[in-house]
Subunit: 147 residues, 2 copies
């Protein structure tokens, strides 16, 4: 199955950012789940690392829910990516390749280094964009759609 954690977390964060600008204090996991057409448990699982990273604040109990910890302009898409994907690399190579020649003895490390470079370049790209930027892009797309 395809891993949709990042796009999903991103949508949730965008919803929280929108709520923030609209003056809504917090959203429940059920509300967020509705937005992504999924279930509250999945939402809460995704929220855990975002909360631990300090991007989202959660309040328990009745009338509980989550909200952004800070202004949307202070959160980059890179922050969200790092939090939700943790140490998972974008690429994984074959493991336990039998060592028999120059290639098989060293590809594993070679590919690992390459994957690291890729991760870095993706994070660079994501870190240049804030949630606030993204929300603005959504408005632009929406305006284009309306025409």
């Amino acid at each position: 199955m395809i891993d949709v954690r990042f796009p999903t977390a991103l949508q949730m964060m965008l919803s929280l950012a929108l709520a923030q600008t609209a003056g809504v204090e917090r959203l429940s996991s059920a509300q967020l789940a509705e937005g992504i057409d999924s279930n509250p448990t999945f939402v809460r699982r995704l929220l855990v690392p975002l909360i631990q990273a300090g991007l989202v604040h959660s309040t328990m109990g009745r009338d509980g829910g989550v909200s952004l910890s800070t202004d949307a302009a202070m959160i980059t898409l890179g922050d969200i990516y790092k939090a939700t994907m943790g140490n998972k690399k974008l690429w994984t190579g074959r493991s336990d390749i039998p060592h028999r020649c120059l290639v098989s003895c060293n590809v594993e490390r070679f590919f690992g280094n390459l994957a690291d470079e890729v991760d870095e370049s993706v994070l660079d790209l994501l870190s240049k964009r804030t949630l606030a930027d993204a929300l603005l892009e959504l408005r632009t797309l929406d305006a284009a759609r309306a025409q």
Copy 2:
């Protein structure tokens, strides 16, 4: 299951490049399969797009096998990636999100654009490296390993 087509195709291409420098005319799918600890069918499936892209030349029949179509310095890792992964994007978002608000109506396109940018930056990185460069890196890694 994790998609290991690119790392696998890369290893095969490196093996073919090494064979080329060693004066070996061609390798069979069985030989390549041994190198990646897999089976000839998987190898041949992976070879199809590489052959179609003109990166690899295949000869059928007894004593058949595959070899690089050109010098390893003329083939970039980007070529290999494009051939083996085809149109598959690095990221896929959730699909069929119900359209209910500014976010849900536009994230799909927003994320698609973002994914395109990521693909582009990864391909940029991969296209700066040739198979010959990679083979040289393997030798460097091997020398470091020997110590």
